[in-house]
Amino acid sequence: MSLFDDNVAMIASKQPALADAVRKGRGGVFSVEPARSGLPTARLNGRWVHSAYDPVAEAAQWAEAQIPDCQSGELIVLFGAGLLYQAEALTKLLVGDFAFLLVIPDPDELCDAATARRWGPELGRWDWASGNAEAIADRIVSFKRPIRLLSYDPAASCTGEIRRQIEQHLQRHLANQAGGRVHVALIGPIHGGSLPLARYSATALERLGHRVSFIDHSVHLSSYQSLGTLKDPRHGLAMQSKFAELLSRVTLARLAEDPPDVVLALAQAPVILPMLELLRKKQFLTAMWFVENYRHLTYWQQLAGGFEFWFVIQKDGCSDALRRAGARHVCYLPTAADPAVHRPIVLAPQETDEYGADVSFVGAGYPNRRAILPQLLGHPWTFKLWGNEWEGAHNLRSVLQRQGARIDTETCVKVFKATKVNLNLHSWNGPGLDPEGDFVNPRTFELAASGAFQLVDRRRLLGELFTDGEVCTFASEHELPAAVGRWLREPEARAAVATAARRRVLAEHTYEHRMRDLLGMLGVHRPDRVGSLLGGERQAGRLASDASTPPDLASLLAAFPPTQRVDLKDLAGCIRAKGPTAQLSRDELLVLMLDAYREETRDLV
């Protein structure tokens, strides 16, 4: 048998169909040539996939860097096969109970690898997954093990999109697993637009059955604002900055008192880099949901490396910028609506009078809104403008409600309901529509969830969230008056669009969906920390039936309800409850010992 046949035989023993595809393959994905060490190396589109000097040494170095993350019992999934040097090196170094799976989106790639060199016997331990994203994800899940995704990036460049799709399937799978309970500490801002989103997220997590410690810094608002009244603005800014530092320490104290599995900060939360570095040192898993336009608010640059995960409402440019600034994982996660808050309501007649109009806009007086909204004046329709920060907009004074006072969420919902055409104009500091407008604001989801009709400026990411039949758009400020006139003339069409929008929100765009995705994402990347929790592996019943659980601990676990999550401190508490004269087994003593060290580990203050 030839070298190629020998290699392909290793695939055939596990995946005959893939072996056939490799046999029939033409190769040519990589250009293979000898390295200085004499072994074959390869290029992909002119760039080296493996070292031009010593691909084996390079692979060993890469594998060594992966080892600390991998936990016994996991399925190691490798993206970026190349000439399989990395797979071989990993198998040699990983000691413990591991299963191995190589993702092969293109059999021609494997054809090159099988032709280039004789594979080591270590590859006999690897399984192979090919086909579309869903098939590969199903194959990964079929192993029924915690999943560790690894990527050999130089060879994985051609698998980027399929990897993203596979991760999405895995997230969904994780999210659909019942019962797992995660403890999330959610850090809210002192004030601002992300504060209600923090509250919606906390509620959503609780509705999903998770435990939430909401660290609500809005209670410090009046103190924070009072610092801003110092006569010298420099003093005010300096004191507010120090105050934010203090709140950061308050957060640390709260985390130390009740350590969570995940620390999730919402944009504008008072966190500073040293705090994040300390949390990282203490092995806390941190994430930020940056529900801001990264082009306008740029403080992410100072914090990028501090959070382990970033969730953002924008895509490519945003992700690239964050990664350049040091972020390790960046994931797209649009905002959403809370249907318990933004819902269709019935208004009393006087409320309809007060809040009702043909056209309404609710929001702050950004420059583009000041420039565009006057176009809605002087038409045969009624127009009401709600919200604050409209000082100096004299031409809009006649339509400004409540003299530009800030209005609460409940009032917003009433305005949405009482208005025929709700205008949703994303904020921008320029004169017209934001030419780079990509993300979709929370208002879009809130209007839709309220069952209200909206006319929204066109956004690049809107199309993947709503269809044209669910949300109506205008592409330029000049189209706006005509669009308003048209939709005012079509009440039935408006109703149909609003109904469809609400249906879509309920199906896909609530904060429960977002939190499920967020935890799913964390679970895929941190199978040992979040994935196992979501999968219910810490539940008393599962722990008790685990073969590695000693009998004396299993009997302790039997005292808990089977679906209750049991942590080290719970088990230790159960042992301590035996009383001062109890005779303890060796494993019980060890549990108490680990618990004593756990308490020390959490010393953050």
Partner: protein
């Protein structure tokens, strides 16, 4: 023949103060093996303890890691903890003498041995303290007049009376950096100055050190001063040297951050006196037979942490921070070795000197009596169940 283990997981000073208990245990019981479990960084010191067969290193960092792994591995993370414990402490000891009252040490004691003596002897979950444990806790909490030295209370915890002779560490044979070889090699008084202290509030001001060293070298035509401290105290040592008259510098040796623990002991043993406020090195010096003069401020209390043995001197500050420092008085004392000549009436300070008898080490003001009845009473109260002056009978198992 039984195997025994002593557990001392606390810091350097406490470890050195365990030496009398270990000596007494080794002398009084015919153990087949007497091992010592201590914090890993202190193991090199523990290996010089006479009477110890094996020093076992306790690596707290590993245990923190096992605790951390529980979050990812759950019950499975017990495997590694179990393996680690087996490697360290298997087979189990017949008796474990535990000197630390914190839960981790008590748990280790019960994991390591069949019978526990000392802290935790009534069970791993029991909050009852043995009499000597209650005594030490009372001293720590109330700062009440304590006349039993901590090292002797450790003996009590182990069920033995103090050894008849002050035990000494064997000075290791280890070369020091070449330029420090001159330390102690010529006649005259050699003083090791411990430039820092465990906590900033216990540090002597740099200006006081400059004054003290200048005056000492002025008054003592031969000998020299060795500056001792860790790497983090190098700047302090440099600041002291910057403030000294140039003529003094040829008699100053700066060892800060340049020695390991063994080399430090070698240097301390070559000196006539060791002075300073950091109790750990003071204990170390006393344990190799060097006379110690300590300046105790803040939480450092002479009766609890005065160096063990006879002939040491401690200046105890009555207030924190002290308003003045007994520079002249301590120099006079050093020159004459007579407390009366030192005029020890210094505002805000009291002077104590150590003595040694059948109840161990004790500190008294110069000229005071030996308060033996008071110490005998304390031993009587704490040594319930075995006759005063006798060792506690060992259990049937050993």
């Amino acid at each position: 023949m039984s195997r025994a283990l002593v557990i001392q997981l606390a810091r350097l000073g406490d470890l050195i103060q365990t030496l009398p208990a270990i000596t007494a245990l080794a002398q009084r019981h015919g153990f087949a093996a007497l091992d010592l479990l201590c914090a890993a960084p202190l193991a090199p010191v523990a290996r010089w303890f006479p009477g110890i067969d094996r020093v076992i290193e306790w690596d707290g960092a590993s245990w923190r890691r096992y605790a951390e792994q529980w979050r990812s591995g759950g019950v499975r993370s017990l495997d590694e903890a179990r393996r680690s414990m087996d490697e360290l402490l298997d087979p189990r000891y017949d008796v474990v003498f535990n000197l630390n009252q914190h839960p981790r040490a008590i748990l280790v004691a019960h994991l390591a041995g069949r019978e526990v003596v000392g802290a935790g002897e009534t069970g791993p979950l029991s909050s009852d303290l043995p009499p000597w444990g209650r005594y030490l806790r009372g001293v720590a909490r109330n700062r009440r007049g304590n006349r039993i030295h901590l090292a002797d209370a450790f003996c009590g915890l182990c069920g033995v009376t103090p050894p008849a002779v002050v035990p000494r560490l064997t000075v290791p044979q280890k070369p020091v950096p070449l330029d420090l070889d001159a330390v102690g090699s010529s006649t005259g008084v050699w003083v090791a100055v411990i430039v820092g202290a465990g906590a900033p509030e216990r540090c002597m001001p740099i200006a006081v050190w400059i004054d003290w060293i200048t005056s000492f070298l002025d008054g003592c035509p031969t000998g020299g001063v060795v500056l001792v401290g860790s790497g983090t105290e190098r700047e302090r040592a440099a600041a002291i040297q910057d403030g000294l008259p140039p003529v003094c510098l040829s008699r100053i040796w700066d060892a800060c951050g340049r020695t390991d623990l063994q080399q430090l002991v070698v240097l301390l043993a070559r000196c006539t006196w060791v002075i300073g406020a950091d109790t750990g090195p003071l204990h170390l010096a006393a344990s190799v037979g060097t006379k110690v003069m300590g300046w105790y401020v803040a939480r450092a209390r002479v009766h609890e942490t005065g160096p063990y043995g006879e002939g040491h001197w401690i200046w105890q500050a009555d207030r924190n921070p002290p308003q003045t420092w007994p520079v002249r008085e301590s120099l006079t004392l050093l020159a004459s070795l007579e407390a009366e000549a030192a005029s020890p009436e210094v505002d805000g300070w009291s002077l104590w000197t150590s003595r040694f008898d059948r109840w161990g080490t004790f500190y008294v003001t110069p000229g005071a009596d030996d308060n033996a009845p008071e110490r005998e009473e304390a031993w009587n109260a704490c040594s319930i169940g075995f006759p005063l002056g006798k060792d506690r009978p060992v259990a049937q198992s050993f």
